[in-house]
Symmetry: C3
Subunit: 478 residues, 3 copies
């Protein structure tokens, strides 16, 4: 029977029962749950797609530029096995020449495709290849050119333009992420275009909140100009945030996003905050002071969220640009962001002592340290009204990672302190694949609860719908 | 077939096969193991039920006062979703009025019952509702009044008084937990009553060991009076402990219990211990010194255990009363105790260097940091004769939590360095439910070992019995 | 059916389907995968067997001396339950008498054999008892003498001598581990003997790299003599390493191994390195300086590996000899090495900034802190070309431990940043058992991926072969 199923599986890139439990009884419950939610629209409240795509609606250039060159999940794995980033066409900061022949890049990727066995990247890619490009053979050195030609041919078609794919993906709403310094021109253009796709922004102020951010002082200057506020003192600086948040809201934003090295918060008195801000402006702030300032700004942002209703997302714990050599040559986001151990219990206390029990506030916590799920995050989110748990993030946005998230948080925080799925991606074609994985893994988890007598089947159907759709819209106020 | 099973499940609140593995072959082994141990008496060596219940044997007041108001598992989840503690009747410290209409409290609980989906609280409650109150519909806004009336009616019956339930629950022995300052009057009254139920105390000296404990200096004064020892110096203070331990033993105590913020132990010389004690008495001890003093007292308690044979329990790692606002208004134990990362390897070394290899000593370790199971606790308990592992605790007293405990400790420490189950509860009606969950999860784990060829079925039967009954009695010397 | 299977299981010590998934469909895929790799030769690139065995090819003395006295997995569990090490014949440092009657030792072991239920030690032992000694009853007090006699009888036979077992185990190559101070006489003797078994050494320089190592200064003196280099200064000391590495390579070494308390690396300038080295030589180096020196030596060793091609293994995170009392009486390696929390992200950065992106270098990382798998190790190994992940180590060299390793690393690092299995053992007879466990667990994991549509069956066959054989040989350059 296993042989037979195995043969069945080999006829296509996608097993119809993928990610469902192996046990036949549990699998059939999972299948049933999934059947009721698989076609729900995609609500994507947090991600990094480029709003220009939707504004200009140009064709994606070619297979390599779509799937390899911009995707750090892909090129980090190849680099880790000895392929040079230059050979993959990843642009250098100083403009040194890199591979420009997209077919060559694609072939390098194809001949190393076995490296992705067992990874979510493989699942996402196969999902795209199969559902978007109607391919049913595995990518390899042998099939590289067939793949390239098929994908290139399709990308030239009008129905593979960004807006057409957006509609085909059944996206109800998608959020992008922008800096306060961004003029949001693409969002404005989308709004003026008459196209009905809902693309909104999110307020990500790291560039003007982190004194260690590249170009911080210049950023603050621009921040003053673009907001029309006097950023020479801390009160004016906070006003500038308020102004930009208003502007972001006017272009649909319902959330802010904060990417800090740790989850540290502070509640400094106004004089100390001013002192640190002035040091940051002068560029003589110490590392510890900069960290305190960042921590204090989380509390200030929470206070602003109480006023303007923007949902607050905290994404801590990534050691950015771990390799100095790679950063120097290629810049940020080149696959060298590494998770670190992250504390929440002590770190969040100053902010929680200010706003923690406000039911009107919504703070969504993420982690790259899975040990915090059961020890810190579920206990905190299970009692503080303002706290909710974001889904399994980044390296844990995978079948096993999502399963662990549910196993480690549900018993303490339940389902209703979680907020559904984030695809959190720049890889446009992976969006339906990622949401599909999340839906399947949740249905598998729920089916397991049903079959082991921990949840009734009618309740599981309701929870599946909540996790896929209702909780996302409520948590992000969409 | 899954459909059929699902329908079967919907007819009652409790699936007869709940928590058993989904795979039919494994499930049948689990069922068989469970059948042999399900009716063993409950041995409850660690918990927080109120001895007054057994002494006075009064009826429990009403459904809300039994299931909602005193249970922090319940009201923390409701609070975390925006229900005020006042609306749930949780009393304030200053006596400000809170909801007193128990039916209203019950309805608020009932209409939010979906929040508990997937949590152990849901399993425990459904178990009580089904087995004690013969209810077979799910609690909800619609069924709230039906529930209230049924439960209230039963609570008025004589066979729902504490002693009757104690006997119905088949409790062989239960331990409560008292401070050295307690006069143990209820235990004495139970002893004098002629009732044969075995209710014993346990010695929990935090109030006179932790210089940061509320009212520490007054506590020490009372400690001197109640023990008749001169607590003006450290030697007399230790004698006071010895005296109270003797008194607790005379009322059945076989164990002590220590709730510290960390697992830190110290082995100070006598002069240093005296110095810290005097500072604690004067109230000018620093935070670090207070921590050292607490740590040293664990070693002193271990030494006393060597003499008087009381089993020592260490429950470290809870950040108590994390929200200052909630503590100020409602006091301790309001669901705001949050686990923290906990080290054992360095922390326990001073104590272990003194008593670690004494086979006559028994120290039971607990954790709220699951990462310590495989990395620290199982390796330590697997070699130090005095150390044993307490069961999955608090947030981890759940099906998934217990499964992880076994998966992460068994291969290094085996089964025989563990001590069976603790219900550790104030929620009287949950006691049989909790023990039942533990028995089922252990049988499920053992069945998995049997079916995957890691344990013979005859041995699994013996282990199931040991984990449920024999090891508990031996470890706690009951 | 479960009953029937259970009866089947009881007829022998070894279930033919042990460690395969319970679900019948998944089990049949696992069985099929395993059938194709079960008979592959054993490649054992890291271990601690005694080269003298192979050189002299003497009979093993008796059952207790083979299975109990030298195996810390065995005697630590017995000690932890109150059996004295003296009663198990573990030799004392000062020569105080211990039990010498091997049959008595064996009986003590046998009557406590139930302690090993659920542990990998039990699986390994039963595998040896069954496959090597044709025993099919469980060891117990009752069967102790039968076991002793059977094993003793076989050990006297020529085909139970080390070389015969080596061949019977189908070992293609095995590495031992030696100090730079070792003259490798046994390896030379093996080479000269004409026997074709491939036994190679590995370079483990802790004794001359760690200033806190017992006898460090004397060790350095011998190091100078044996290498013929002037170890009075740091440059000469490095040359001594180079010389000894050359010598180790001449006797087959393809790797070095580094057992440090943490994963700390440093990249000191030459003057600072010299300064610390001189302090170490004088014996007045502080604990922090010694730690920095060890950290710097990892970077130096990595540089040397770039030159001479030796694969570098880093085994951090063990708190050695945790019990001072046991160390004083019995010395090192007595079961009191306890894992500690281990950081890699900050710790490895200095070394990685020097050699991290060199594809010619191969550094294999191990851990005793499983929380690092998904948070740190897989992300690091998934992007740095020089890094690979060693298999689940020591306390985690077990079915559950190996499963967690795959579940927590594969999605980020894939299979191809891992290096297959290490048995890492002194217990010769356990070698085939350990490799068999690893092969079964990998096949079980792969079968799960196949059945849940995450990997095609043809690919799973290739991965199973790679993990068992190809990747080991490539990673260790064998």
């Amino acid at each position: 029977m296993a042989q037979q199923r195995a043969r069945g599986r080999e006829e296509t890139l996608l097993d119809v029962d993928r990610l469902f439990p192996a046990d036949p009884g549990t699998r059939s419950v999972a299948r049933e749950l999934y059947a009721h939610i698989r076609d729900l629209p995609i609500v994507s409240p947090h991600g990094h797609t480029d709003p220009r795509w939707y504004a200009e609606n140009e064709a994606f250039p070619d297979p390599a530029q779509l799937f390899v060159v911009p995707d750090h999940y892909v090129f980090r794995m190849l680099f880790g096995q000895g392929v040079k980033l230059e050979e993959l066409g990843v642009p250098t900061r100083d403009g040194t020449a890199v591979e420009t022949d997209s077919r060559k890049i694609w072939r390098r990727f194809a001949e190393n495709y076995h490296l992705f066995r067992g990874t979510p990247t493989r699942l996402w890619l196969d999902h795209s290849f199969s559902t978007l490009f109607d391919i049913d053979v595995v990518l390899s050195a042998k099939t590289a050119d067939f793949y390239y030609d098929r994908i290139a041919e399709r990308l030239a078609q009008l129905d593979y333009r960004p807006r057409a794919l957006f509609e085909r993906f059944n996206i109800e709403v998608i959020a992008t992420t922008e800096s306060p310094l961004d003029d949001l021109r693409w969002h404005q253009k989308i709004g003026e275009s008459g196209w009905t796709g809902r693309v909104i922004t999110a307020y990500r102020p790291d560039a003007v909140v982190d004194p260690a951010f590249q170009g911080f002082r210049e950023n603050i200057e621009i921040f003053g100009e673009i907001s029309g506020e006097n950023v020479g003192n801390f009160a004016g600086y906070l006003d500038a945030h308020r102004a930009r948040r208003r502007f972001f809201k006017s272009l649909g934003a319902t959330s802010t996003d904060h990417g800090h090295a740790t989850a540290r918060t502070e509640n400094l008195d106004r004089g100390e905050a001013e002192r640190l801000y002035q040091k940051a402006l002068r560029g003589d702030i110490s590392a510890e002071e900069a960290d305190a300032f960042r921590g204090h700004m989380l509390t200030e942002m929470a206070r602003m969220s109480l006023d303007d209703g923007l949902v607050m997302q905290i994404h801590p714990g990534s050691w950015r640009n771990h390799s100095q050599a790679i950063f120097n040559r290629f810049g940020r986001d080149k696959g060298f962001d590494i998770p670190t151990r992250t504390d929440y219990v002590k770190a969040l206390k100053p902010m929680l002592d200010v706003v923690g029990t406000e039911p009107g506030l919504s703070v969504i916590l993420f982690t790259l340290d899975e040990t915090a799920y059961s020890r810190e995050l579920a206990p905190l989110a299970g009692v503080y009204p303002c706290l909710k748990l974001g889904p399994a993030w980044w390296f844990f946005d995978s079948a096993e990672g999502m399963r662990r998230f549910r196993e480690l948080t549900t018993e303490t925080a339940g389902f209703y302190n979680t907020v559904g799925f984030n695809d959190d991606t720049r890889a446009f074609c992976s969006i339906p694949a990622r949401h599909d994985v999340a839906r399947r893994v949740d249905c598998a988890f729920l089916a397991e609860l049903v079959v082991t007598g921990r949840l009734r089947e009618d309740e599981a159907h309701e929870v599946a719908h909540d996790l896929t759709y209702r909780l996302v819209k409520e948590a992000y106020r969409l």
